[in-house]
């Protein structure tokens, strides 16, 4: 019920989070080499999903622009990776995504509901097509090679972006900014009449949330060695964060993390074990979740809790 309540409430939880973080940070020293690779995929999805939830969760504006921000990061890396050191490239990737979101937000955040969703999706397609035109007609290439980085480097950079994403999401949620975002989602007109500068709050949050998707794109590009507009602006990446967030549940901050982790893990497992049926199984899992768990996996926790603790008093 109390959506402002957060996961950092008790020192015990803080300790637990510190422990998990320490384990993740030292992982490449003791885990089998495959583990960081698996975690790279999971972290990437978590970052994109949480970045999506920062804005779309409280406001209810469904953004399908994630792929655009991610793609901007990828191309930043492809273009600047050979001339600038990695941390700066990742930073610029985030910054460019921020600027793009600021621009797009200023133009489109007066649109509501389905119109906003379609416009943001159109953005992904538009950038992809423009880039394709540019590459074929001006630079006479189709794809680009990206400077390679070791898996451990990629893993650590993603881990840092992940921590920054979570901290940002946490502080926005707890701050008065978070309250304003929530009120916009509840009733935008009333929020405006209560003194909330709704346009400013929406545009700024949208832009901040885009930083993380852009930064993640910049570092992920170094894993793929060759990229082209189709790979960089893959529309599927616009829908994945929405699905993962719904799957995990948006009521709590850890919902999207759980959703993205299970989703990414399932994807990895299913693609290797059932290469032909994996999309089908994926779809079924999703349909079942939406039908039976409208609040996502996280919504299941209080349900089970009530059942186990109130079991004796049932049937009355």
């Amino acid at each position: 019920m109390d959506r402002v309540r957060t996961i950092f409430k008790k020192p015990f939880l803080l300790g637990l989070l510190g422990l998990i973080l320490a384990l993740l940070a030292t992982l490449p020293f003791y885990a089998p080499p495959y583990t960081p690779i698996l975690l790279i995929g999971i972290l990437m999805y978590i970052i994109i999903t949480v970045s999506w939830v920062i804005f779309s969760g409280p406001t209810g504006y469904i953004s399908l622009a994630s792929a655009a921000f991610f793609g901007v990061g990828i191309y930043t890396s492809a273009i600047l990776g050979k001339v600038l050191p990695l941390p700066i490239v990742v930073g610029i990737g985030g910054l460019l995504s921020f600027c793009l979101a600021l621009l797009v937000g200023a133009i489109t955040l007066r649109l509501r509901g389905i119109y906003f969703a379609i416009f943001t999706f159109g953005l992904v397609v538009l950038i992809k097509e423009l880039l394709l035109y540019w590459e074929i007609n001006i630079t006479h290439t189709r794809g680009r090679f990206v400077v390679l980085e070791s898996n451990n480097t990629i893993y650590y950079v993603l881990l840092i972006i992940f921590v920054l994403t979570m901290l940002t999401a946490y502080f926005i949620r707890r701050s008065k900014f978070g309250l304003a975002l929530q009120s916009i989602g509840e009733n935008e007109e009333a929020a405006a009449h209560m003194g909330v500068n709704v346009t400013m709050v929406k545009v700024i949050t949208f832009a901040i949330s885009a930083i993380f998707a852009g930064a993640a794109g910049a570092i992920m590009a170094t894993r793929w060695t060759y990229i082209d507009p189709y790979v960089a602006f893959n529309p599927l990446l616009s829908f994945m964060p929405v699905l993962m967030a719904i799957f995990g549940g948006m009521g709590q901050l850890y919902g999207p993390i759980i959703g993205a982790t299970i989703f990414a893990f399932l994807q990895e497992e299913l693609t290797t074990k059932f290469p032909f049926y994996y999309m089908l199984i994926f779809g079924i899992v999703l349909v079942v979740t939406i039908l039976f768990l409208p609040n996502g996996l996280v919504g299941l926790i209080p349900k089970l809790w009530r059942r186990s603790s109130g079991g004796q008093r049932a049937n009355t």
Binding site: A192, G195, V196, N197
Partner: protein
């Protein structure tokens, strides 16, 4: 002193003049009533004052300063708060947070979160919602949701409060409570401009009443004058 005044305020919806060349004013410390048949343009006038709608022509001034062209949040921060005819509470947020939002964002100076929380708690007590402060606003009765809207509006520290049909849909006891609330708000030194259909309420609490019909102002005066006016009886009160 005139706290709010409008000159030649006009708004069209398509070809229809929803508010047509209306002049009005509200003096500091008054309770002014706005009445008229359905579709007369009362809520439209409120929407123009609070900038939910942009007027076609005319000018509106608050404390002598032109507010036409400002955004809703700016008008709120200047000191004009409002409630809505169809309640617009933040349904899934707890009652206290609804009010907190007004305290945190509704003033031009900004409020620390500790002060805002204290103010919000005080206002819930003022409107009589202390007992339900933790439950989501959607679980309140209509009467309580309306009170919550009043508390939320008061949290923005207004000098002028626009009440849009505060009493519509309430039972007689609740109407009496709402009337008492309106006079208590005035006693805090807040000027009130209210749309109302409940005649008993409007006649007993208002200092002055304005009547709109088809978007035009057809009468203005004390409750006694309005009750006796032939035109008003013809178009609105009925014989």
């Amino acid at each position: 002193m005139r706290i709010l005044e409008g000159e030649g305020v006009t708004k069209y919806f398509g070809g229809l003049a929803a508010v047509s060349n209306v002049d009005f004013h509200v003096d500091q410390g008054e309770i002014v009533g706005l009445i008229g048949p359905n579709g007369a343009g009362k809520t439209t006038l409120f929407n123009l004052i609070s900038a939910a709608l942009v007027l076609k022509s005319g000018v509106i001034r608050f404390k002598g300063e032109k507010i036409t062209g400002l955004k809703p949040h700016q008008i709120c921060r200047m000191g004009v708060a409002r409630t809505f005819q169809s309640v617009k509470v933040f349904a899934n947020m707890p009652v206290l947070e609804n009010v907190l939002l007004g305290s945190l964002f509704g003033t031009s100076t900004g409020t620390s979160s500790a002060d805002a929380a204290r103010e919000a708690t005080g206002l819930l007590e003022f409107v009589g919602l202390s007992a339900v402060r933790a439950i989501p606003a959607k679980d309140l009765t209509l009467a309580n949701q309306k009170r919550l809207e009043v508390a939320r509006a008061l949290a923005t520290k207004p000098e002028l409060l626009l009440l849009d049909e505060l009493m519509a849909g309430l039972n007689p006891t609740e109407v009496a409570q709402a009337m008492e609330l309106v006079t208590r708000i005035r006693d805090k030194g807040i000027t009130i401009f209210m749309i109302e259909h409940v005649m008993k309420a409007i006649m007993s609490v208002c200092d002055r009443i304005m009547v709109l019909h088809h978007g035009e102002k057809i009468a203005e005066g004390t409750p006694e004058e309005i009750a006796a006016s032939k035109t008003v009886i013809e178009v609105y009160l009925g014989g």
